[in-house]
Amino acid sequence: MNSSGHNPSVPLQQMSVIKRRLTYMMVLVFITFPFIYLKVNPLEILTAYPSIVSFFGENFFPPDFSGFKNYVPLIIETLLFAVVGTYISAILAFILGLAMSENINPIALVRWLVRTFSSLVRNIPVLVWASLLVYIFGIGSMVGLLALILATLGFLTRSYAETIDDIADTKLEALKANGASPIQVIVNGLMPEFIPSWVNWTLFSFEINIRASAILGMVGAGGIGIMIQTNIRLFKYQEALALIITLVILILLTEFAVTKIRKAIL
């Protein structure tokens, strides 16, 4: 492949030169197009960082923890929202997952309906859902809870249905052949196999729900998120930073605890 005879190097890649060049060209177009379309100079992004950092240093530092006593109820509220949201979405998603699974639910129409619903919930961003819910129901904690449930329901339903189908393919045939009733198949055949992944996914969605407290703020439902937003709007950056640090610690602790629980149970 190398035309110059003086250089006996063996090319490492095995793709043909034309194909390789074509790929490079496509990648290059793909990379440059967004910046050309947005009329943004990539260097501008790089040069923006120092000014952001200095703005942070001047306005957000040092964090003002003087109101920390008032944060405690907010932290508790965030945790409570996450617990309730996780419970409801885990149970709903399990029922929907059963209804979506080909091996459990024989009615094709219902399966299709659930599949469409799950795809609709999953593929419309949570914040869009949240602003729609606020529009329909007004601001409030119920709307916040609904938004939290929707944040995890879509992907949980799909994951549960996939897991259930995996189990059903291999394990449930034998039970059915033994003459077990559908309920026995689910309770004695499916559940014991399913619980580990149920726990796993549920812990994962708890983590997401803690993070989503920022979204709760958007719909005025309470928790830490709303206070971060309010403080930034009021230019009280130092208090906002204190709240952000609190949220980060809460999220890191949750991550840590979830990993521990996962190791202990599974």
Binding site: V84, I124, P125, L127, S131, Y135, I244, L247
Partner: protein, 261 residues
Amino acid sequence: MERKIQLTDSKSLLRKILMGAGSLVLFSASVLLLNLDLATFVSRAKEAGSVLQHFLQLDLTDLAEIMSELFLSVTIAFAALIGGTLFSLIFAVFGAENITPHRYLSYFIKGFISIIRAIPSLVWILMIVASMGFGTISGLIGLIFPTVGYLGKSFISSIEEVPEDVIEAMKATGASKIQIITEGVFPCVSNMFLSWIAIRVESNVAESISLGIVGAGGIGTLLTRAIGSYDYPKISTIILMIFVTMLALEIVVNRIKTVTK
């Protein structure tokens, strides 16, 4: 002559009942402590039916505007993905423990990335908007942070999974540090990197749309405006277009994931 054979022994049954009861108590206690505004919600829900009816129509007159704003959102998401990938690659090369120039640098980068990850994207965007004002660039920069948070961590863990023998063998042949990375490590992880990037496409587009709702431009801003002016058909059209875009992305990404596996 009939005798019932117990399928589950009583000890594990007791454990199950206890766990069930425990989780029930936790749930009801949390619900009670939250003091949800259920009554107001129910009363509003009764009127919701008539509101929902308004949504059952589409308005295609502004389709061109909707499409161009949607395209803007998607482009911002991709630009942030490209920027974020670049930063993540740099972080990964210096942060993965098996190829880092110094162990403490690796710890530092990993800690930095986990802090970036812990801050929700919405908070990043609020902070960037506070310092730079609204606009495409601030949206783009705000979106780069969560991208780096996700890709940086994934890249590092992929590189750390590269078997030690590969690096060892290359060192033995006298390859330089850069050669080890470009010829030894990257070929091992490139498919995994591609699939991480593909997975991130979906979240980036979703977040770019959400960022518009906060006010940084794109389809989200259009949606907020339509909601503000009670333009039901337009709201439905925008949401339908968002859904179609996200669904198409999901299908493409799943394709890529199975191909790169």
